[in-house]
Symmetry: C2
Subunit: 209 residues, 2 copies
DNA sequence: ATTTGTTTTAACCAAATGGTCAAATATAAA
DNA sequence: TTTATATTTGACCATTTGGTTAAAACAAAT
């Protein structure tokens, strides 16, 4: 029997299954995905998937854990680091977020599937367990407002704005591509542009001049 | 036999099925939804669903059509109306978008499900068929940049930003609620706040001072 | 080489599910 | 009241699918 608790360093067959599952679940969701399809993608027998992960639900849960654990810690440790200035934080946040998703293309689809079901409780739990405190970021904003560096903004709306503008373009990728044809630029180019445009857009909005 | 092409004014049983389907599909997606569940939600026999809509896929497609047809025309006729000023347009866009989704809560989940599959082609087709031209909005932006009213911004990024910040909060609703607890405000309050905050945030960012 | 335990596979199963159909019921026309 | 037509239903079917299992293949230790 293997150690099924150590999700961070999977090897061999187990790793194959995880990667295949990320791809298929991200593309088709929990219900749309077929165990057979995941097995095929991993190049192994279907029974092996059950051998390692017991059930479809367990596998899905494992994928959720790996996905969000590869995600939140980095982003959130940045946000709750009090020694980084607000503007720097915004710049790094956008870059980190977009880069992270570029490297893990399954995340947006996966996130959407997971959120549009009831599954956000699980994500919220992971938040709490991670010991991360968005308060640091919120307080930093309130501080800058008092100092007069930025105009008054609701911290919650600001963070929601930032996350929205980072994630949603990945979800709406095919739609946006339709728009982009006009400008004859491809999607990756669009994302690189975005890494520069977005921080400017955000900072421009809150910076007092 | 009824007229199955007139999707805009359904009545009786057919309407019941449509409303039930919107709810269930929006909540669980095409694959997650069960025909039986839709029938139950509508309070009718399962065979009736097939009687009116033939197959699950056809029903899903019908829901897509109704959903997006209730959506794009209004938003897009606003955006491509050249007699409304850019700033007014932004204000009305945000208000219209959020209100529309508030009244049709199934839209975000439904949209996410549809986008995270391949189904964006269909949406793009509806775009083209609707005879709507986002060019008007784009040109308006470029015009205001020349005039010097706003700072130089990429029109595509701007519209993507606007749509992102309107839609994503609905998708991430359960997550955001987690944040909001801190401020002791509920979600509807948050949305009303947002209708005021968002236009300010956007205009603030592009307005030249 | 034999034993012991682990990994992998093919064949199989029970349950769920989309879809069909013939019969029943309501509706309207003659 | 008939007759014809549209609507609704319960029973049924074929297929798909998650999951099981017994046996084969493999690896490691004695």
């Amino acid at each position: 029997m293997e150690n099924h608790k150590n999700n961070t360093q999977l090897q061999g067959t187990e790793k194959l299954i995880m990667e295949a599952a990320k791809k298929i679940f991200g593309r088709k969701g929990l219900d749309g995905a077929r165990m057979q399809e995941i097995a095929d993608e991993a190049g192994i027998n279907k029974a092996l998937v059950h051998y390692y992960f017991r059930s479809k639900d367990k596998l899905f849960e494992a994928v959720i854990n790996e996905t969000f654990l590869s995600f939140f810690p980095m982003v959130m440790s940045l946000m709750s680091n009090p020694s980084i200035s607000l503007f720097q934080k915004i710049e790094r946040f956008v870059d980190l977020y977009i880069s992270l998703i570029q490297e893990n293309p399954h995340i947006p689809g996966f996130m959407a599937q997971e959120l549009s079901r009831g599954g956000a409780d699980r994500v919220l739990d992971m938040f709490k367990d991670s010991g991360i405190k968005p308060e640091v970021f919120f307080q930093q904003i309130e501080q800058e407002i008092k100092t007069g560096t930025i105009v008054p903004v609701s911290p919650v709306h600001l963070i929601v704005n930032m996350i929205s503008m980072c994630i949603f373009p990945f979800l709406a990728r095919p739609l946006i591509s339709g728009f982009l044809i006009r400008d004859r630029i491809d999607y990756d180019e669009f994302l690189e542009e975005r890494k520069k445009e977005l921080p400017k857009f955000i900072i421009n909005s809150i910076k007092k001049k």
